[in-house]
Every structure is written in C-alpha cells, then in structure tokens.
Amino acid sequence: MKKIHVRYFALFRDQVGRDEETIETEASDPAGLYAELQARHDLGLGADRLKVAVNDEFTSWDRSLSDGDRIVFIPPVAGG
C-alpha cells in the first residue's frame, strides 16, 4: 500500500466535495487510481476525457506511482 495525495479542481472538487484527500491504494499507475476514485466518488468523466499530472508535471496514464506522490486528474480545461 502507498499513500497518494490527490487534489481536486473545478468539476471534480464540486463532485468530491473537497479540495484534496490522501488515498491509500494498491493502484500501480494513474489509470488504476482513477478507476478506484471514479467508482468511489461517482465521477462522471471517463479517463479518455482527462489529462493527469503527477508532482506538478503532465504524465502518462501508465507511469508507476510511488509512495507520497501528488496527483491531479485534469478535467477538460477552459482558459481564455
């Protein structure tokens, strides 16, 4: 088990009802972790609609996660 710090923005913050949480997980990568969170929080968006950042950098869905990593699942953006 590792601890992963998750931050939520925008739609996800509204759906989860908080800014962040620390998760204990067996998930080895962001894809696995998102599947867990999607089920737990009833998140509407499929991973194909998202990007993911680990430790403040965009990353791939299959990179390995380490204990203490900080992760953000990024819903479709709307700047400008």
Binding site: F9, L45, R49, E57, V72, V77, A78, G79
Partner: protein
C-alpha cells in the same frame, strides 16, 4: 522578454504592453480575451476561473518558449486572470513583438490557441437565469459530449 503570469487582480494590459518594447522590432500583435455577456444562448452574469497554479505556470512558460522557437519572434508574454471576473473584464492577455508582422500574428495566435487547450484552468459561468456551470465539463457530460464531437478542438466559450 518572455513571461507568463497568473493574477487575481485586474490585468494591467498597458503595463504588460510597455514591457514588450524593443527597438529591433517592427511589429507587435496582442490578443485579449474579454468576459462577454452571453455564451451558447445563456446570459452570463459573472464567472470564476480556477487554476492549478504550479502546472499552469510551467505549461504557460512552455507555450511561450515554443512560440519563440517556432516563429522566431523576439518577445512573447501572457497573463491569465483567475478568481471572480465580471462582464467586460480582461480574462487573458497575450503580446508578441517581432521584426515583422507575419511572425507576430502567427505567434500570438499560437499562444492563445495553446493556452485555451493546454492550460489547467477552468471556468464556471454564472447565468442571469440563476444557475451556473463549469464550461465544457458538465455540459459536455450532460449532452453526451455533443460539443466535443461537433467541433474538432475546444468549443468556443465565453471569454473568447
């Protein structure tokens, strides 16, 4: 001059512009995104931008560096506001200085296009009708991604 900024305060576009001056440059192109009073048939009252700051800063600087490298312009800068915005407020400003106008226009367009697609920033619109929504997200989910499939890139939304 290359600088990407995020601010909760009103954007002082004139101050940013002045910093672009360069005697080797013959052309300067700028773009501003303004909060407009309607979006997809809804009357907009105000809006909020929420930003993932650390990643937005690094991604914003990356976009500017790409613009300078691709188009050979001299200076490129951008600032995006977040927090609560009202109608008519400047949400984003982009400025580019270059020897010639062609590069200036192309690089300016590149920056705003990439900012809209890549910057981790979200917009919640509050409507005159009383409800509100995260632009793209809820609406796309609710409408079975109609916006995404109708249009190849990001749908146009209030603020540009």
């Amino acid at each position: 001059m290359i600088e990407f900024g995020l601010t909760r305060e009103p954007i002082d576009t004139e101050q940013w512009r002045r910093r672009m001056f360069d005697l080797t440059c013959g052309g300067y192109a700028a773009f501003e995104g303004w909060v407009r009073d309607h979006n997809e048939g809804q009357e907009v009252l105000r809006l909020e931008y929420e930003v993932y700051e650390t990643l937005a800063l690094s991604e914003g600087n990356k976009i500017l560096a790409e613009a300078i490298e691709r188009f050979g312009v001299t200076g490129a800068a951008c600032v995006h506001r977040h927090g609560e915005l009202r109608l008519g407020d400047v949400a984003v400003w982009v400025g580019v200085s270059a020897a010639h106008r062609d590069e200036a226009f192309k690089a300016c367009r590149y920056v705003i296009d990439e900012v809209k697609i890549r910057l981790p920033i979200w917009k919640k619109e509050h409507y005159v009708a009383g409800d509100s929504g995260w632009v793209n997200c809820e609406r796309c989910a609710a409408h079975g991604h109609a916006h995404e499939t109708d249009r190849p890139r990001q749908p146009e939304t209030a603020g540009v």
